[in-house]
Structures are given as C-alpha cells and as structure tokens.
C-alpha cells in the first residue's frame, strides 16, 4: 500500500500538476500524455493557483474506517482560479458550505494507519476568509 501514496507526495502536498504546451490544457493530478493532443502534446510540470471555488460538494456521513473520526466531512469538486478542477476535502461547518464558495488550499492531515502507523498528509481547502 505504501509506495502508491509515497511516490505522489510532491503532487499531494502542493497542487503541482502538468500543462500541455501544445494546447494549453492543465492537468491535476499530473498526466504523462495530453488526452487532447495525445503524442503531439508537450507536457511540463506546473504549480497551480492556491485559490478557487466550489463547483459541487457532498457531506459524507457513511465513511470508510480511516475517516471515522472526521465524519461528517465535506468532499468537493473545486475549480481553481486557473481553471484546474480537483477533488478535495473542505474544512468548514457543513452548514456553511455552498456551491460557489471561495476556498484556499491548506496543508492538512488526512488519516493515519492506526496509532503507530504512517500519517497521511495532503492538501485540503478552507474558506477563503477574504472573500467569503
């Protein structure tokens, strides 16, 4: 199980993805091929904006074991200001979350493998106080 998450750390801890220099499409998580230009595309790494807005969301009540303590928690589809769309957790009161809500990235703990196991960290989103 471990390597799958370990090898993605750079991309998980920050919103680093890829851009196709041929058509300008942006991808997060990173891709090796541009699905639009396919082999004609030239892919390079890029860090995307840290702010965006909620496109849609859910409040999860029935959660897997590792998220038991966090529930209910919010999972949202977020569109960053540069157009990239990603799936992430939003940390706020479930009563306050809404479509269109402005959010910004934050470095957070996701879960841990038991009491002495590995702690998994990643990017979550919090309300962007300046504009909420």
């Amino acid at each position: 199980m471990l390597p799958r998450f370990w090898r993605k750390i750079k991309y998980r801890y920050d919103i680093v993805g890829t851009v196709c220099e041929n058509c300008g499409s942006k991808f997060y998580p990173p891709r090796n091929f541009c699905p639009i230009c396919r082999r004609k595309g030239k892919i390079r790494e890029q860090t995307f904006s840290s702010k965006g807005r909620i496109l849609s969301y859910t409040v999860v009540h029935d959660a897997p074991d590792e998220y038991k303590l966090a529930k209910p928690y919010i999972v949202a589809l977020i569109e960053l200001d540069d157009g990239v769309v990603l799936t992430s957790q939003v940390v706020c009161d479930p009563q306050e979350v809404h479509i269109g809500m402005r959010v910004k990235k934050a470095f957070r703990k996701y879960y841990e493998d038991g009491e002495s196991g590995i702690i998994y960290y990643g990017t979550k989103f919090v309300p962007d106080d300046g504009e909420v």
Binding site: V60, D62, D65, Y67, P94, I99
Partner: protein, 387 residues
Amino acid sequence: MQRVAIVGVGQSEFGELWDRGFRDIVLKAGSEALDDAGLEGKEIEAIYVGNMSGGRYLEQEHISALIADYSGLAELGIPATRVEAADASGGLALRQAFLAVASGVHDVVMAAGAEKVTDVGSEMTADIMSSTADREWEGFVGATIPALYAIMARKHFEKYGTTEEDLALVSVKNHRNGALNPKAQYRREIKVEDVLNSPKVAEPLKLLDCAPLSDGACAVILASEKVARQITDNPVFISASAQASDYLAIQNRRDITEMRAVRVASEKAYRMARVEPRDIDVVEVHDSFTIAEIMAYEDLGFAEKGKGAELIREGVTSLEGSLPVNTGGGLKACGHAVGATGIRQAIEITLQLRGEAGKRQVECERGLSLNIGGTGATAVVTIYERG
C-alpha cells in the same frame, strides 16, 4: 456477422447468502440457464464470466477456471474467460459472449456474472467498491462512490432544478416493481417519506437512494440464429452491443451532470440496431444510486438534458407508463450483485420480450439495458428484440 440470440436465462437468489458459497450460486444460475435452454451443458463452447473483485472479496482469483471446473466443463477443456470493468463486469461478459458468437467463432456460449460480497464486512465492501473510482486522487480524500454520485446529484440539482423528492420517486418506483418480482431481494413497497427520512449517506443521497450490495449470480446462454431456431421458439435477439469509456475521476470530465460514456455507447448501439430512442419499449438502467437513473434517462436520449426528472414525476417510466424502466425493481430492489448485475438486466429484458415477466409484464417488442462501471468510466449498452 452471425445474428445472436439469448436462448436461456438463470439466476440465483440475490441477498446476504452467508450459507452459500461462490461456486454454489454460480452453479445454480448456470444450471437454471441450461434447463431454460433445454441444453445439457456439453454444447457450451465457451464461457465468459463477469466478476469484479473475487480477489478481494473471496481471496480467490482465476474465477474463470473455477467456474468451468465446477460447471463440469473442465473435463471438456472449454475456454473460460473472466472479464472485469467494476460493476459493468456482467454487461461486459455479455458483450464478449455476443462478440464470440457474432464473429462466427462459436455457436453456443454462456455469459455469466457473479459476486460474493458478504464474506467480508460492510466497511471492507465499501473500500473495495471505492477501488472502482480513482483510488489515488478520489479515494485518498475520502470520496466514496456514494460521495461522488452525490456530487453529481448536487450539480444536477443546481443546474436543472432536480430535487431530493425526484430522486426518492425513482426509489419508490423501483421498489414498487420489485414487489412484483419473485427474484428481487427486496419485495416491499416504500414511500417518498421513507426515502427522505432514511439515514444520510452522502448528502443529498440517503440510504434508500443507494442500491444494496448483494451476493448473487446470473447466467444467460447465447446462440447463433441457426442453433437458436433449432432449440427454442422464443429467442430474444441482441440487435446491438456497444461499450464506451470516460475519464476515471469525475474531476476530469467536462460536465458531471452527464455520463458521456453512456451517451457515446448508446448512440453507437442505436446506430448498430438501426433504431432510435423512441423505438425502445422497455429499459433496464444502472440505478446504483437514484441520480444515476435520472441521468440515464437523459444520456440514453429518452429525455432532453436536464429534463430527466420530468419522466419520473409524470410516471412515464412506471410499469403503466409509455417507457417502463427497471420493471424488475432495478439494482435498488433486486439487489446489486456487482459482477452479476449486467446479466440480471439482460435476463429481465429477455423475460419481458418473451412475455414471461408475470405481474410486472409490459407490452414490448424491443428493449435496452445499460450497465455502468464505477462512477461512469465504463458504460455497456445492449439492445434486444423479440425473435
């Protein structure tokens, strides 16, 4: 290309079958299908079996050989192949069997689907189902399958005005149909309030918006037209089979209120069968979540985009309506035996076209089934017509 007909159908019980093993339920489905076709078994030239996660649910891989073996077909050395596409595995097994007969390579083939999910706990079952979406980028952040469908539902609400009550109506209809189906896991009616008041799973989806995960197995026997005419008076022909894929993670899709794989596969299927959506009389769709049925109405071309909810509000898709959908109860009431579901759908359409659907019988000449994998990254559409 040879014409291909369904000449036999069989189904095990669906549900929490703790006292039955995987091979027991597969044999029950397979032997029932052989009896239905009036065949002995030795006529079967190949088997395709849809199974999603035997390796995790049962710690048993090589399901294909296991099934051939316990069906007594290992002695004959017949080829057996497992196919996997999450909960579209059954639909895909049907498609592989169809291709094998259509190509002329085989004349009699069995397509089966089976899953045994209750040998592990429900937490683990949910975790295994999560592997049908993008584990690294959706599962990691706690986006379960119901959560991803809930995100689609919320967007559909915002964009088109679909409501929680509309979703509840889907569940109510499918339970009403399931109550008339002796093979359904849940044979009782429910009310809109029951759905709305059931525990929240992933808002806006409640427990009764979600199909149960079940143990179960199904089998159908396909034959070339020549063989079909020799062994049965009521063959049901497969006039089209189409499959399409989409981005695995919903974040990469252009519009999460539509399933593009469904649209692409159904357009191909309509072309292949030379029919239009209005020519279809009876439909089975993949209602793993109620929102999926509403989106299916739209993506299959039965309603304009955004107007799917009108069909359920106006009763168009009820047994008495002009386009009955999920006449047997759908995944919601029949149970969702993951790898078996696509075959169960084929069986329901076959029974309807043969006129053998009992109390839930509708008038029909042509049917369609839609089997979806995960959150829509695989779609299999099959069109059937009376022989």
